[in-house]
Every structure is written in C-alpha cells, then in structure tokens.
C-alpha cells in the first residue's frame, strides 16, 4: 500500500477501533443519557470510518471493500493510534480518552479540509462539526468530574496520568506522515501539537487538573505495533464476520 493509502487507513482504523470501544458501553453506561451519548459518538466515528475504509480500499486497488478491511485483517495490519484501543475502564477513563482524542481529531480535521485528496477533504469537512460537538461533550464531562468531588477528581487525575503518555504518538511524524504531507494529502502531526496543547490546557484548567509532564510511549499503533488490548477487541469485532463470511442482514 502506498503512503497515501496507509495515511487514509490510519485515520480509518483509529475511528473504527474507537467506535468499537464506545459501542461496548451500550447498556452499561452510568446513566441512560450517557449510554445514548457514547453510542451516538460511536456512530459518528463509525460513519466516518466506513467512508475512509472504502476510500483506502479503492486507493489500494486490490478489490478489498470496507468489510474486508475491517473484518479480515490481523492485529499487526491495523494502523490505529494506540490511545484509542485502550480499554474503557471506568467512565472517567473513557471520558479522558475521548477528550484527548476529540481534541486531536478536531485539529486534524480542520487541517485536512484543505487536503488535495477530495474524499479526505470532504470527510474532514463533514467530520469537523461532529468532532467539535464530541469535544464539547467530553470536555464538559471532564470539567464536571475534575472539578467535582474529591473522588471523581482523584479518578480522572489517575486516568489522565495513565493515558497522557500515549498522546506522544499523536504528534510524532514518521515516513508515511512526511510523504502524505509533502503531497498535500495529509498534515504533519507535529504541526498540530501547539493548538492541541492550548485546547487541552484550557479545559484541564477548568477541570482543576494539571497536564502531566512526562510523555513517552512504548507502542506504535500507527505502525502496527500495538498494546496487548487490540487483539481482544478485534477478536470480538471480527468473530461474526469470520464465522459467517459474506453473511448479510
């Protein structure tokens, strides 16, 4: 697959994996409104993922459609960011993961609206409004939990400390990013970090939380080197399709 195809697939996989994670909350969220909220965010991300997967399949030109790409690839062939495959944990863990993702995605989509890839530009233009809406939701919850009780504050502070190191990968440039950016298709991730930091700091301040200083990462999901969690997610997501290939609703 060309750097162009790989770049699109990274975005697609990141959305798909997070949509699957959020779907795990259905029927389990702390309140009906949050059950609906997380499911709605999941649906938006899945809708964007389907367009991007179909596009990646066309760029590849080997006849793989969105289903073949979603359900018939192995763990090491997925190129999502490591952050989004992290388990849901408690509600605070999910909100912190979502907030960091939303802030990253909003900046990414804002930049990709100017992509020379017309499909990517269209998905980004459409997704930008949805990402901003998601960020208002996750940011609102982060403020309520951080600036809430001592218990909720301590819990989200712990979630932030655990997940923050994984944000390093969001702004790390590699060969695929550089090739895509040079061609005007993608955006160099490192250029998005200042706006992300400003956005995050504003909300963390309101939430009475501090940005952790240390940021390092052991995994490199966008190159197919994942944490131990993705395999289990894929096993569940792909089992039906693999057991009944070609089945339709």
């Amino acid at each position: 697959m060309t750097p162009h195809g790989r770049y699109v697939l990274r975005l697609a996989d990141t959305n798909l994996v997070l949509a699957q994670r959020l779907g795990e909350w259905v029927g389990h969220a702390p309140a009906l409104e949050e059950d609906l909220g997380l499911a709605n965010v999941s649906l938006d991300l899945l809708g964007q993922a389907r367009l991007l997967l179909a596009h990646a399949g066309q760029l590849e030109g080997r006849g793989r459609d969105e289903d073949a790409l979603a359900f018939l690839r192995e763990e090491s062939e997925f190129y999502n960011l490591t952050l989004v495959e992290q388990p849901n944990g408690n509600f605070g863990d999910t909100i912190v993961r979502q907030f960091l993702f939303d802030a990253w995605q909003l900046g990414t989509y804002e930049a990709l609206r100017g992509s020379t890839d017309a499909t990517l530009a269209a998905v980004a233009a459409k997704g930008r409004g949805e990402a901003a809406y998601h960020l208002r939701y996750s940011g609102g919850w982060l403020v309520r939990l951080g600036d809430g009780t001592s218990e909720s504050h301590a819990r989200v502070a712990e979630s932030l400390a655990r997940l923050w190191p994984l944000t390093r990968e969001l702004f790390d440039d590699d060969d695929v990013d550089r090739a895509a950016a040079e061609a005007g298709i993608g955006v160099l991730p490192s250029t998005l970090e200042p706006a992300f930091a400003a956005r995050v700091d504003r909300t963390l301040g309101e939430a009475t939380l501090a940005r952790p200083a240390v940021a390092w990462f052991n995994w490199y999901g966008k190159q197919g080197r994942h944490s131990e969690h993705l395999g289990y997610l894929l096993a569940e997501m792909q089992s039906l399709h693999r057991a009944h290939p070609g089945a339709t609703w």
Binding site: E33, L36, G37, N40, S42, L43, L45, Q48, A118, G129
Partner: protein, 160 residues
C-alpha cells in the same frame, strides 16, 4: 487524456416539478413529518448520458443509520413513478442543519421537536427559558432539553 466525458443534463421544468412532488412525499424514517426535500439533502437531479435519472443525496450525520434507508426509499419512490433512477452520495460541501427548509422547521416545531438555532425554544409553550439536559438524544440529529417555564422535557434538532 481521451475523449471528454459526456455531460449530464438537467430535466425539463415539468419533469423537475414532478420529481419534487414525488420526493416531497419521501419521509425521513426517524422524523416522519420531514421529507427529504425539507431536510435539504437532495443535492441534484440530472439525466445521465445513458438516460437514467441521477439523484445526488447528502448524508445528514455521518453515522446515521437512516441514511441507508432514506436512499432506498428515494429510489423506490422514483421507480414506482416510472423513473429509472440511481443515487449518488454527495459529501462536499457537507450537509448542515442550516439547510433545513423553512417549512421543515415549522413541521418540526409542530411535531414537538425544537428546530435548530439558539436559544432552543420550547415547542410546547414557546418559552426560550430552556436548558440542555443532554447533548445526545434518541437519534443522531437530536439533543435533550427541558423547558424551565412549563417544565416539560423536549427534543431539540442539533445544530451542526
């Protein structure tokens, strides 16, 4: 490159009027008082060089399951009226809740859903003293509100 692609042409005004009449009867499966015309998702109607009618449709919210149903309903209605139609997705520029027609906004309010726009006005008593109780509701296009005047909860069509 080779020969230029043949260009699609616009249907005659009479045919266009008939098509609008048919599409005004195709309802959103989740909010049945709204037609696809009210929603503002019909982007173009043209006759292809092969003689088939092409309908350009825009998705509302990226993951809304109704998108697939809407496309099938549009094609079914046009085929029932004798048109050999195909639907294509139009992603750019993206659909926005600003594209809801004036008539659509009136129908929404009468149905009990506050149309998009700030501040959300209570569809029951008309008060603008309202508060949001949840950003998300029973479908991707709605949020939940409460009227602080008459105290009734209501759905609000999200601005996006």
């Amino acid at each position: 490159m080779g020969a230029q692609a043949p260009v699609a042409i616009a249907p005659s005004p009479e045919v266009l009027e008939r098509l609008h009449g048919i599409l005004a009867q195709v309802a959103d499966p989740e909010i049945p008082v709204l037609s696809v015309i009210d929603l503002g998702i019909v982007r173009h109607l043209s006759i292809r060089p092969d003689g088939r009618l092409e309908v350009g449709l825009s998705p509302t919210y990226s993951g809304c399951p109704a998108n697939t149903v809407i496309k099938a309903d549009v094609l079914r209605a046009l085929q029932a009226a004798g048109f050999d139609a195909v639907a294509v997705d139009v992603l750019a520029p993206p659909w926005s809740s600003d594209w809801l027609s004036e008539e659509g906004r009136r129908k929404l309010a009468a149905y009990g859903i506050a149309p998009p726009g700030a501040p959300a006005a209570c569809p029951r008593c008309g008060s603008k003293r309202t508060s949001r109780t949840s950003e998300f509701g029973s479908t991707p296009c709605k949020a939940l509100y409460r009227c602080d005047a008459c105290l009734e909860p209501f759905d609000y069509f999200k601005c996006i």
